[in-house]
Structure formats: structure tokens, C-alpha cells
Symmetry: none
Subunit: 154 residues, 2 copies
DNA sequence: TTGTTTCCCATCAAATCCCATGTTATCCCA
DNA sequence: TGGGATAACATGGGATTTGATGGGAAACAA
């Protein structure tokens, strides 16, 4: 599970270290890396491992093949996603267009969100974290257990 | 899984490089190439590897033999598809009629969509990507978890 | 022949690999 | 518990490989 927040530097080649705990979270499969795409909600990046993409594929394929929403989601997730594999030191190279979408310049903040994570400009993220905390406080009563227990692996 | 978008040039001989990640995605089988056919939805091409064609065959064979829809799909997919094999550098030669259907002229945009991919005129695709992003944002709630529980993490 | 397709080789940029280094966190033992 | 030893992590730069592309020669077809 992706948890915690870490800010790492982006070097002149566009390389950035992925937090070690994120890396160990996606290790094991044949693809040693992550999937990253621009959020269609705002100026940040969405990311996850193979398992997340498999889930999205399953959810999208459950939709009607010629549903316009399905085609838009296919395009905006799979069409925009990049496979970024780790180098020997656990870094990825962020393509310029992705860095541009998120306004990344020299530093990137990785935010673990359970089954997926986000990559933010550190300043933007600080502002968002503040407002999210307020919003969480106002909505804390919405946090409740599902009526029937469901299993969640580790 | 086919992901990401890449635009490559079409040379005077009609050759175009298939993105390396697409190639590795279809490698392994006896047929070293891809299947491509004109979309019956609009001016672009549909494509995939052997696995995709096997899936379509399975789905179509599950239909009644004289179902009109079955015959239309057989004709529009298998009847129109071409097998385009890679040359030593990973290029295919696009037949003129396929290039014509998609309005390809000098450049081709490959769009990974999970199990399959599409080939677009770069300008047409840019317009579609923009509208798809808006539409995806408005319809993201249609992405539902499958009813059966899945585990978190990788 | 004439035009077309397939194969082969050359080139250039970009992505990847490899090695070195500083810094922090963890371990281990007295 | 203190403190040195060790390992893990993040970072920088050079060397090497891969990927995309262009053009020519050989095989094939009309």
C-alpha cells in the first residue's frame, strides 16, 4: 500500500528517485517500474503499479464498449500513461510533458494514497494538504465501516 | 498492455516505426507483427497483437452462426484486417488504403488503449485527446470497482 | 524492363546503464 | 545506552545501448 509523502529532487536529466517504500510496493512482478499519467482533474500526476492498471483495465472493460465515457477514460488513462521503469538506483526519468502538466521544476512530491499515488509540485501540494485537512475535519463523520466486512489484503 | 501515445514519421515507402513498447508487447508468439484494420467508427485504425485477435475470435464464435451482427463483425474485423509484420528495425509498411482511411500523411500517432491500440492522424488525435480529457473528468464516477473484492497493493 | 517490395547497413539523438559519492538511517556490540 | 560499523537511500556525471529514421541494393512481380 502506498503511504506517506516524500519530496525528491529532479536532476538535469529529468531523473527523480521514487521513494523506497513505493518501490518495494510494486516489486515482484515482471515490470520493475510504475505507470504515471497526467490527472484529468488538475495539475498533478497520477501513478501506480501493474496491479492498479490491471484494476483500471478490468473496470473499463466492464463498461459498454461504445459508451462514450468508456472511450474517454481509455484515452485519458491508458492513452496518456507512461511506463517508467526504475534504473539501478530506483529512479525514473520523468518525460518533459508530464513534468510540465504538474508544474514540476527541480523537485517532486510523492503522495501515497493507498492503492495509488500522486506526484505534485511541492508548493502546490503544501497548499492542497492544508485545505484537505480542513475538509477532512468537516467531513470526518463520513468515515465509517462498510455494513458488511470486506477483505483487504495487507 | 498497450499504453502511452507516440507519433512517428511515415517515410516515402510508407514505412513507420511501431513504438518499441508496443513491439515488446506482442513479441513472443510465432507472428512477429501486428493486426491493423480500419475502425468502423471513424477515420482511424484499430490494431492489436495475436492475443487480441484470439479474443475477438472467441467472442464472435460465442455468437449464433447466422446472427446478422456476427456476420457484420466478422466482415468488419477479420475481413478488413491486415497482418503487418515488422522489418529488422521494427517498422511496418502501411498499405495505402489504410493510410487513406485514417487520413495519414507523413506522420502517425499510436495510442495505447490497454488490450488494443489505435493509429491516428496526429492533428485529429490532438483534438480527440482534448475533448476526451474533459469528458473523462465529467464521467469519472462511472468507473466502478468490480463487485468482487480485490486486494490492495501489488 | 519497370515498378514495387523486402532486406541490409549507416546515422543521430535520446534513453538507459554503470560507476562514484555524500548523507542518512539502521545495526551491532561493548 | 553510547557510538562506531554497516547498509540503505538519494544524487551526479560519463559511457554505452537502444530506438527512430533515411537511403541503397537485391529479390520479386507485372
Amino acid at each position: 500500500m502506498f503511504v506517506s509523502t516524500a519530496t525528491n529532487g529532479i536532476d538535469a536529466k529529468g531523473r527523480v528517485s521514487v521513494p523506497a517504500s513505493f518501490r518495494s510496493n510494486v516489486s515482484g512482478g515482471p515490470f520493475d517500474g510504475i505507470y504515471v499519467w497526467p490527472s484529468f482533474d488538475g495539475p498533478w500526476l497520477e501513478g501506480g503499479g501493474q496491479a492498479l492498471m490491471d484494476d483500471y483495465l478490468e473496470m473499463i472493460e466492464a463498461m459498454d464498449p461504445y459508451d462514450e465515457a468508456r472511450q474517454a477514460l481509455e484515452q485519458s488513462i491508458f492513452g496518456e500513461a507512461r511506463t517508467l521503469s526504475f534504473d539501478a538506483n530506483g529512479r525514473i526519468t520523468l518525460p518533459k510533458d508530464l513534468a510540465g502538466h504538474a508544474g514540476l521544476d527541480g523537485k517532486a512530491t510523492f503522495v501515497g494514497l493507498g492503492r495509488r499515488f500522486e506526484i505534485w509540485n511541492p508548493d502546490s501540494h503544501a497548499r492542497r494538504a492544508t485545505s484537505a485537512r480542513t475538509f477532512a475535519k468537516e467531513n470526518k463523520l463520513k468515515l465509517r465501516r462498510p455494513s458488511r466486512m470486506t477483505e483487504m489484503g495487507q
